[in-house]
Structure formats: C-alpha cells, structure tokens
Subunit: 278 residues, 4 copies
C-alpha cells in the first residue's frame, strides 16, 4: 500500500505517542492510560458491592461503557499505528488488550437470564486490563530473568511438593475420615495444601490424636521446605548480581598501545599481557 | 540575634545534652527519654483495657497529662536549643515529636460527646512516640540501605502481587459468589490477600470444589513467590557484605617509599605500581 | 545361566526400553507410564468422592484392576530385564514400584466387612505410585545435593525447634489449662507446632491474657527462626553455584605444547606452569 | 584438699565418663542419658493426658520419682567429679541440670491443695531437661555463630517490627473497636502479631471495610518484611561459608626452600614470593 505522505506521518506520530515512551506526548498518553485502567477496574469493584450496585446502577452502566469504548478505540489505534498489526495482535500485550475489551461486548450479545452466571465470568475478565500495567514497569526484567533461569528448579520443586501433598492428603483421609470433615481425598489434598503452605484456614482440622500427629509432620515438612524456593531465587539473584558487578574494577576502554589488548584494571600501569607501560 | 555569652553557652550545653550522644549527660537524657516514652505508651495501653480504665480513671488521666507536659517541655527545649528550629521542626523526627504531643491537646479542645470517635483516633496517634526509639538505634542503617537499594524491585514485586490478587479475588467472587461469603469483589480481594500472604484467618473460606481448586492455586502461587522478596533482600545484603569485606586482605597503611602508592596486599613484597621493594 | 542369543537380545532391548531414556522407544515408554500413573491416581481420588463412588462403582473397580494388572506386568518386566533383579527390587524405585501394586492384592485377600478400615489404608497406599514420577526429572539432582549437604544443619535446627515447641507447649498447658482447650501437653505441643510454623488453624487459641502474651512470643520466635532453614539452603545453593561457575573463565581444552598442562585462562599467553608461549 | 591416690583416680575416671565424649564409656553414658531424658519427658507428657493420668496414676508417680532420683544422683556425681564444682554449678548446663530436678522436690514440699496451680508450673519446668540434648550436638556451632553475628541486626529488626505492631494494633482498636472483638489495645496488638507473623488464627478478625483494608496493609507489610531476617541470616551464613572455603585451593604446608614462605597454591610450581622452583 502506498500512503500519501501526511498520512504516513500521522501513523508514525501515533506510533510514537501510543507505543513510545521517549516523547512528552508518549509519556502523558501512558500516564492517562494507567489512570483510565485503574478507574475502570475501580468501577468493576464498586459494581460488585451490593448496596452501591443498587444505588448507582445506571451511572455505573454508562461509565463502564464509556471505558469499554475508550479502550476499544485505543485498541483500534494500536492496530492501525503498529508496523505489523498482526504481530501486535498476536503479542502478549495485544492479546491482553483484546481480552480486556471482549467481555463487555459478549455480555451484550448473550444478555440472557439463564446465561447470567456465564456473563458474570465474562465481566470479571475485564480485570485483565490491570495486567497492562506491567508493560510500564521496566524494572521487572531482572526479577523475571532470575525467575526464568530458575524455572526448571522451581518446577521440580512444585511437582515434588504436590506429590507429597497427595500422599499426606490421602493418609489424612484414611486416618480422620469423612466423620471428621475429610470427606474425600481431593478435599484432604486441599487441606494438605492449606497446611503445607502454612495458610491454615482452620475450616478443616484434625480431631484424632494420630491425625494431629500426621498434621504436625505435614506442617514441619512445609516449614522445612519453604526454604527451598527461597534458596533457589536468592542464589539466582546473587548470581545475576555478581555477573553485573564482575567487571566493576576493569576499564574496558583502556587499550595497550603495544599489543592492542583492551580491558585493564582501573589502576593498572602496565599491560597485563605484554608488560608495556600503558 | 546577639546573645550574652552565658546564654549562648546554655544553648550549646542543652544541644549537647538533648541532641548529642557522646557525653554521659547526653546518654543519660536519651535513656531517660526512652523509659518515659515506653511508660507513656504503656499508660495508653492500660487505659484501653475496660476494667483497668474504670478502676484507675483519674490516676491514668493525670499520668497521661504529666507525660504530655513532659514531652511538650522537651519539644520546646529541642526547638530552643537547635541551631535552626525550623529545620528541626520540619525534619522527620521533628514531625514525629510534634504529632506525639498534639493529640492530647486536641482531645482537650474537642472534648465533646459526639466527637468521641474522633478523639479516639487522636489518642492513638500518641503511639507514634514509640517511633522516636528508632533514632537511638544506629545499627539500623545497613538494613535500611539494603532496603533502599532494593526499593524498586520490591515495588515492582508488590504491584505484580496486587494485580494477581485482584484477579484471583475476582475469579473467586464469580466462582463462590455472595452465597458462600464472597459478597463483593473488594471482599474477595481481601480474601486473596489473606490467602496469598499465608495468613489464612478462615473467616471466609471456599465451599465449592472449583473454589477450593482455585484457592489451592492461589496458595501455591503465594508460596512460590514468597521467595522473591527474600531473594531480593538476601542478595542486596550479601552485596553490602562483600563490599565491606572486599579490602580485608589489603593493608591501606602500607606505603611504597618510591611512588607513595598506598594500599598493598598484606603479604606483598613489591609495590604493585612501580615494582620497588616495599 | 546360558540364554540363546535372541532371548539375550530381547532382555537387552527390554532393558533399553524400560530403564533407558535415550531411544525414542524408551522415551515413549516413560511418557506412557507417567500418563498411566497419573490416571490411576486420579481414579483413586475419584473413588474417594462419595457421590462419584456410588454412581461409577463397578466401572471404577474394573479400571483400578486394569491399572493394577498393567503395573504388575511392568514390575515383572523390570525384574526380568534388569541385570540384577535383586538389586533392582531393593533399590528405592524398586520398593516404590512394589508398594504401589501391593495394596490392591492385599485388599483382595482381606476383603471382609469388618476389615473395611484396613482396606481403606491399603487402597490409599497405591498413591505412592506418584513418587515414581520423580525418577523422570533429572533437574532434581542439584536441589537434592544441596539438601543432602545441609542435612546435618537442618537436623540440628529441627531438633532445637522441637525442643522449643515442647517447652512452649507445656507452658501453654499450665497457663491456659484444659478449660481453654489445652487438654493435655501433647495437644499443647500440637498447638505450638501449628503456631510456630505460622499455620495457625485457630481450632485451639489462647483465651487468657498471659496465654496470649506467651502465644505472641511463640509466634515471634517462629517468625525469627523461619529465617534459619532458608539461610542454610540459600548458602548451600550459592556454594553449588559458585562451584559450577568457578572455572567459567578457564578453557580446559587449552594445552601447553611443552609440558602438556591443560586448563589455562581464556586470555592466557604463556603456560602458567612452565612459562612456554601457548 | 589432699586425696589418696585411688580416690583421685576415681574422680578423674568419673569426669572422663560423665563429661567426656572420647572414650566408649563416655559415649555410652551420654547415649544412656539422652534416652533417660527423652523417656522422662515422655512420662510428663503422658501424665498430662487426662484418661492416661487416671489409669496409671501410681505407676507414673513412681516412674517420675525414679527419674528424679536418677538425675539427682547424676547431678551430684557431676558436682563431685568436676574440677571446679562451683564453676560447673554456675555454667549454663549446670543451671539447666539443677532446674530440671528442682521442680519435683518443690512439688513435694508444697504439696497443698491451694497451691496446686503453682505445682503445675513447677512440674512443667522439668521439661527443661530436654535442653540438655543440645549439649550433644556439635553441629549447632556454625548456626549459633551466624545467629550471634547477626544478633544486633535481628534485634533492630524485632524492635522495629514490634513498634509497627503497636501502631497497627492501636489503629485497629480505633477502627474496629470492642464491638468487633478488639476489646483493648493489648488485645489488638496480639491480633497484629498474629497477623504480621502470618499465623492468622482467625479468633479475632476485622468486620468493617476500613478494618479489612488496614488488615490487608498489615498482612502485606508482614509479607514484605519477612524477607529481612531471612536475608540477614542467609548473608551471615554465606559469609561463614566463604571464610571456610577461602583457602581451599591453598596448601598451607607447602614451603619454599629458598625464602621459607608457606602457603602456596596446590598446583604452584614456583614460589609466589621469590620465584624459586618449589
């Protein structure tokens, strides 16, 4: 497609404002968007509170639609101004943007009494809008990299813990049984997850002596192994740190005039390769 | 302003005693103050206990006023003896000092039956006196520095966790609904905070199978990501440590007689700069 | 024993498929087995849910027997194809394999109304099958090595914590007594384990002021010492890490032509042993 | 005092057996003592269980006295065989030994109906016997050293957390008030300790919206700062580790024949001080 020059310029400008962070306009757009996202989430929260829902029913309805239309317009602009609309639509943030406006329209089409429960689920999906906020935080990268490096160890750990929880749950089902609230093995596994993660709701608790003994072992196991994921993440972060500060005392721009070797200590006087004075 | 010499000396002396830590008088003043602060907090605590409040009503009233007058006098002395009263009044501790005596006087002015609730809030603010204690602890600095270095990573982490909690809370509101105690999305978010932080009060618990399944995922998520802030703080503290011990094997007083370079290894025989024997 | 050649080959082939991970057939066998194990565990879980048990009683019965026969056949094949059947049967996985099929047969023999409770225990032991899954994850080794290195420190820690819990539990028994739910010292120790591991079910809580004070100390102690196992595991993992990355800057393939010494720095120009130019 | 030689020898022998760990007799004595301590603690636990207490009243009474006499005899032997009885009696383990036998005798003297409550406290003190066990674990030293190094940071941390808990507790007392279970500020501080340590009994929970909001902040604060003690202990343990492994690659016995310098790398061929071949 060949565009006249001024339309091309409009697209470049829009891209700068919508996707960019460097210009004042781009920054203002982002700040405006974060505020709008937070407000729209707030409206959903308010709408779920019974008394407020009844008092401000129609107002909340219109505000929600205003936000939906705003975000729809923003989504279309993003599609229009990106160099490759398809790549954007398929990217993680493209999908989040799409699924944060979809539920409102689906609620419109399927507005039927018998489907009310489904509509409720669709409505809450709009909460995904808040995920957009992560885009604006660049500091998250180091954390993410450490978590990605540690993903296999964390997976192994979680699988082992789940296996333990299945076993502990089953044993508790046998020991305590339905008469003490452990009505099935899945429920007992739910209990052992509640216990090993040290959440401890207290809705299901052991009543027999043997059950309490096994529960104590479950808790101590959970207490002991809570150290493992922390150790994994700590050591990954320490490693990232040391990589970052490894060459702090070296000046990579310091060149030996004799052998061209770069990267000497900040206080070095002689080349560490050929011994020539620097 | 020009002061006669003996008044100048009084101010300097007072400053030494009130703000200083080096003289015996300064140390004794600080110890006396900590004891007074702890006692006055204790009086507030005792006053809030129903039976004790009724038995010792007038005694507690007079003791509280004695402490208020004491701290007011101390505050005025601080203002008087500091080189720049305004700078002190605006500093963190100046504000804490001020707000720890204000509530008592406000309670006096607005002593009205209908304003009782407000007075209660004012009374508790006197608890801020305890914050004064931090001033006396110098060991806190290394911890604070590590926390300040890690502040951005911790913020990113907390924002991500809050976003997750909003989503988990909303999903639980849809799945469990008002009939199981999840009466609104904000309350469901409160539940997801209680669950992900592994507090687990048990005042609101899931009753459906799907709800329990999602609750289990919420707990495991909380269990897995509790490792992240710990890892952040651990690695920051380790870094502080290594910085501190980096030059343990170097004698900074060891000088090369030829090139005057200081700071050689403890067991070095030749200058690491010019090669002269040390 | 002397086998004809083609039977020998069969055993070698079987060993390759059942115990090996390198060939496509071995990989497929393992994946098939994991799916079968997970499905059989799922059947046990479903069977424990009251309504589902009544609806699908006979179907579940036959599916369970199908899995039992499958795993029995697999166990016999493992015995047959391993070079030393006895060594396999005594190994950790050999025992897990055996105990994951045993309960079904025991339930058959003792299928008697009065032994129903025992049968329940036998049935649930089949859950140990899930432990088999750990075999398929090789990433677990580094974690295990760190935990094994730290085993003595963790044991010392757990013994100290248990001693503390016995003391805290006994004190709470004296302070609160049977009238507040602390009916015996073992139950009070159960309470102190629930409290110090920060699980906090809330089925037993202190009601007296002194009891609440001691409970607060118990919690703060638990909060303070939760740091210890984490610190142990973190430092062990960090050590493993540093061992792994110790020789990152060394090229083990770099050989000195004069003295045959291997393993020089990536940027070394002269042999660090005999001084010959590399 | 001058003893005949054979009595001197008896004392030396006894000291070897009772205080020593090197001879088989000393080891056997220690193992016997640990078993006796654990059994006597078990008897106290059993005695506190209502039904068991009634069934085995007299048996438990005699067994308890047998243990008391045994430990008394052991205490006297320790006094007799130690070089300085007074130093032993004043040492930590001397005091623990003394207080683990004292309560039984006090219960004898003050065996009066009206003093029953006091006797209960005295009885439980016998539980301190279990502390003796720590003596037998030498692995605890590294952990203890790390904790002692970190004691000032941990103290600063605990004081800050307690100050926060006083403030959070007081605010909750004002917001929720006695009508929602927060009957006094000390009780509200107890609640905030239960919440910030993530124990979460659920016996006291907020009922107002503002109270739940402040409770959520309390929890998130507790969640965020749980990282600090872990970070402190982790970094201390890491430091201990690095100190231990600092000289792993150095052979301190390798001496240069020319300059007498000790301590060269395991694979060094030339003295790192004077360049002489090793």
């Amino acid at each position: 497609m060949i565009f006249p020059n001024h339309i091309k310029n409009l697209r470049v400008k829009l891209h700068e404002v919508i996707f960019g962070y460097d210009t004042p306009a781009g920054r203002n757009f982002d700040i405006f968007l974060i505020v709008a996202i937070l407000l729209s989430v707030l409206v959903v929260l308010i709408d779920s509170v019974g008394p407020l829902h009844q008092s401000f029913d129609s107002q909340l309805f219109w505000v929600e639609w205003a936000f939906t239309l705003l975000f729809t317009f923003e989504y279309l602009l993003r599609l229009y101004s990106s160099q490759s609309p398809l790549a954007y639509a398929r990217s993680f943030y493209g999908l989040v943007d799409f699924f944060s406006i979809l539920p409102s329209y689906l609620a419109l089409i399927e507005s039927d009494a018998s489907f009310l429960v489904v509509i409720r689920i669709l409505r809450v999906l709009r909460i995904f809008r808040i995920l957009k906020m992560i885009r604006y935080v660049s500091e998250a990268n180091m954390l993410l990299r450490a978590l990605i490096n540690a993903r296999r160890k964390i997976l192994v750990f979680i699988v082992s813990v789940l296996a333990l929880q299945v076993i502990f749950g089953s044993v508790m089902y046998l020991v305590e049984g339905p008469e003490n609230g452990y009505t099935s093995i899945p429920l007992s596994i739910y209990w052992s997850i509640v216990t090993m993660t040290t959440v401890g709701f207290g809705d299901i608790v052991p009543h027999t002596d043997l059950g309490r003994f096994i529960a104590a072992i479950t808790m101590l196991t959970g207490y002991a192994i809570i150290a493992v994921p922390t150790g994994i993440v700590s050591s990954e972060l320490m490693h990232e740190f040391q990589q970052q500060h490894r060459y702090d005392h070296i000046d990579i721009e310091k060149v030996c005039l004799h052998c061209q070797r770069k990267g000497h200590d900040l206080d070095a006087n002689y080349c560490r390769q050929c011994g020539t004075k620097l």
